[in-house]
Amino acid sequence: MSAAQTMLTQTSTKSAITYALQAADWAAIRHASETTTWRSIRNGKPDSNDTSLDEGAMCEVLVDGHFGYAATADRSLAGLQRAFDRAIATTRATSQHKAQAFTAHERPRAVGNFRSARQRDLDALSLAEITDCLLAASQAMQLSDLLVNRTASAMLVQTQIDYFSSNGSETHQSFDMLDITLSATAVEGSESQTRSWSRTGQFGGEVFDRAVLVEQAERTAREALALLLAENCPSGRMDLLLMPDQMMLQIHESIGHPLELDRILGDERNYAGWSFVKAEDFGCLQYGSPLMNVSFDPTREHELASYDFDDGGNRATREMLIENGVLKRGLGSLESQLRSGLPGVANFRSASWNRAPIDRMANINLEPGTSSLQDLVAQVEHGVIMHTNRSWSIDDYRNKFQFGCEYGQLIENGRLGRVVRNPNYRGVTVDFWNRLAGVGRHDEMFGTPYCGKGEPSQVIRVGHASPPCLFRDVEVFGGQS
């Protein structure tokens, strides 16, 4: 957007907010503009080259103690005024049946700018550079005719969020995000195995490194072929060593979601579900072993869900959710904190201009411990190490889970052994986390752009950093094939 357009938008935004205040007690506009580019090369040939520009404004009002929303892509003054008219009319009617009375206290004044860490803006990366890297990676996976699918893809996202409110908020946040994925599938007879690698986070074009992609592509393809020849993962109770690219899923599903205060308050019961966590559990529930320390950290550079302000203007800070295994704090916005009386965080987030904010995860990280990976392996007499999530399912209270991974290796008498395929495990959340017996000292960052939740539904970006973690006596099993 040019400087002149930016000025015009700010002028119409402030005029529209003034207009809304004729009938609303408080008003705000959140502009969001997001350009997403997908590039994919499969088997050395272009598979998709798509770009989308999604932009519009969410007009928000407080009427009779109730917040209501109307979204429009027409960001002229007249368009914003029409959206405010819709928001005010509907909110006035619904406010008689509101779940909770709010005030502007739940929308604190916020002023500031955020720019995600990067050395080279994504839009400075040429299409030729991207295509060259992805072609090279796809071709590097061509180690055998058994590798029928060799895909290298990238999603590049540039987002600008500008927020203005009638109590003086003005924030501008700019994000460059990248998700690069390599995937190799090997097939022989009725058997098929897939191995993948990904790099996801707030990065600029500097991480588009051809040599790194080629190296990872070759390893990914080799491991897919190795899985084709491997035995099934054995079944039984044994020790389980999870690598960071599986820990991210374990943290996400069995810590992040159950700690969301809107789930605990019942907002999400009809869709994603409720939570086994009760309000009275905060401060006393022994969620996991004393080795377990978990933070909400939107301040970490390069992690996928870092920001300075949430979509209600609340400044984002790092907070501990679980300390020494004890549950301390939930994932709840200022609205949820008022409703529940519990401490929360700045996590009132929306997927886009066309959705209202709700309680979401941001970066939820398991803090590093003291062990090296070799130390953790050495502690296992009989077990398995698992890499990279491929299957996930958990109940609507976030208790009973079953997760599967792409790649496993047996551990016998403190040493890594042969590769096994179709490794899976299942458990119950609090019991599982209390089996945590070792935490690595080096963490790695992962994330997903696709966390689904809400009515209407929203996908949002979340980050998870974790070291490798060792769990004792877990139910492990393989596939049928």
């Binding site: 999604d54 959705r355 299957s391 599967g404 049928q480």
Partner: protein, 450 residues
């Protein structure tokens, strides 16, 4: 202040006509273009404890261009403002950006040449509640209930045209109220959907769900993991068959090593002769045209008496692997799945089940072992332990893990006589179209693991 009365469907049609004529008129020799428009004007109201948690009005229009030139393909999309004067130059810039990329992209060997697949125009006008009347209409009959859920209603539009002269238009006005009722931690699920809101129908729908909820007051039953004779009510069976949209019926997934139904596709396995599945666009839930404007047959048999008749094949997949396309979308998942009912009358379900589990809904399904088509998931909402054909009481949630080759194969004992429509209630990014129609299913030795 009051919003002026506007006709969103007519406005978007005018915009589509003006913009498509303009951009198609800008094409140069050797360029071919496909245009898709997706639009909605929706009111979303979220309920918790029969009170309003959030209300959101959304008006959005998206347009996408797919340009083909010099044997290369590029796609770009953007949000439209709804103003022809603003959107026309924005679309011209989008076309220019497509041209810039075409110039540096590699050749696309699987490009599908555009053709004129014909034209169609369908509009289904409804009778929806005015936005300010929605909440009172929903909550009044539910007074005293702990109701959680989502009302979504308004206009949905899909339109397509291309430079070969093809043109399709589909617009509908619908609503759904996807909800659940709670009795403490236990819940029963309901859904009221249609194109004409009727207070009497809503009250009757609510009464049926309350009756189901009342059954949850019976003594809680403890069921250990194991294999049990199981009745999947229509919504639960719809949840299970929804997994077929995750690569199982996709021709490209089969060719690329990702299909759970590889053995079915290659004749090494078959399902129960009781089971037939087809795409049935005569249900009217979704348009027959896909994003290339190709029009599917009204009815396309996928599985007939347990044998695979056809996978879903997009034109691009057909070109890459030498197959015959059948109007499938690029994702190659069912858009209007229809499963004919069987012989088991509703009144006879509990008797036929005898002793076992009655499951109303399933939750969070995922492939746990693709090669053996094994799926894991949870039970959810009103699920009961049944003995001697009588409901004894509700169960705690159970995890299950079962191969579809078994559950839809030798273990499938019977299908219910009455099939129910399960309308799409997906609202990611925008309200979805579509849905499916399924009966319930009686399955022997369904495997529960946790």
């Amino acid at each position: 202040m009051s919003a002026p009365k506007m006709d969103f469907i007519a406005d978007v049609r005018g915009l589509f006509d003006a913009l498509s004529a303009d951009v198609l008129g800008q094409l140069r020799a050797g360029e071919e273009l496909t245009i898709n428009v997706s639009a909605e004007e929706s009111l979303f109201v979220r309920f918790n404890n029969n009170r309003v948690r959030q209300n959101t009005d959304v008006a959005q229009i998206d347009i996408s261009l797919q340009l083909q030139a010099d044997a290369r393909t590029v796609s770009k999309s953007r949000t439209l403002t709804g103003s022809v004067d603003v959107d026309r130059p924005a679309l011209t810039r989008l076309l220019e950006q497509c041209r810039d990329e075409i110039a540096v992209l590699p050749l696309d060997p699987y490009q599908v040449p555009l053709q004129n697949n014909g034209s169609s125009s369908e509009e289904f006008r409804g009778h929806l509640l005015a936005p300010q009347d929605v909440v009172s209409a929903v909550v009044a009959p539910a007074a005293g209930c702990d109701l959680a859920g989502l009302y979504a209603g308004g206009s949905i539009i899909r339109a397509n045209c291309n430079s070969m002269g093809q043109r399709h238009w589909f617009a509908t006005e619908t609503f759904f109220l996807d909800y659940s009722l709670y009795n403490g931690p236990q819940a029963a699920k309901g859904c009221y959907a249609g194109s004409r809101w009727d207070d009497v129908e809503w009250a009757a729908n609510l009464t049926r769900t309350k009756a189901l909820l009342a059954l949850l007051s019976r003594p809680q039953q403890s069921v250990k993991p194991g294999a049990y004779r199981t009745w999947l009510a229509p919504r639960a069976f719809s949840d299970l068959l929804g997994m077929l949209g995750w690569n199982a019926l996709s021709a490209s997934a089969w060719k690329q090593g990702h299909s759970p139904f590889k053995k079915l596709a290659e004749g090494e396995a078959r399902l129960s002769p009781l089971l037939s599945i087809e795409e049935n666009f005569s249900m009217g839930l979704t348009p027959r045209f896909n994003s290339l404007g190709e029009v599917s047959e009204t009815r396309l048999p996928l599985i007939e008496r347990g044998e695979l008749k056809s996978l879903l094949v997009s034109s691009r997949t057909a070109k890459e692997y030498g197959l015959v396309a059948n109007g499938a979308s690029g994702r190659e998942g069912p858009r209007a799945m229809d499963v004919p009912g069987g012989t088991l009358d509703e009144e006879g379900v509990l008797q036929a089940l005898g002793t076992g589990l009655y499951l109303s809904n399933l939750h969070y399904l995922n492939w746990s072992d693709v090669v053996s088509a094994r799926v894991t998931g949870m039970t959810r909402y009103a699920c009961f332990w049944v003995e001697g054909g009588e409901i004894v009481g509700p169960i705690s949630d159970l995890r299950w893990d079962e191969s579809l080759y078994s559950a839809l194969g030798d273990k499938l004992l019977a299908l219910g006589a009455r099939a129910e429509i399960d309308p799409a209630t997906d609202t990611y990014h925008r309200r979805a179209l579509g849905g499916c129609r399924t009966p319930g299913a009686l399955i022997e030795d369904f495997t529960f693991t946790l």
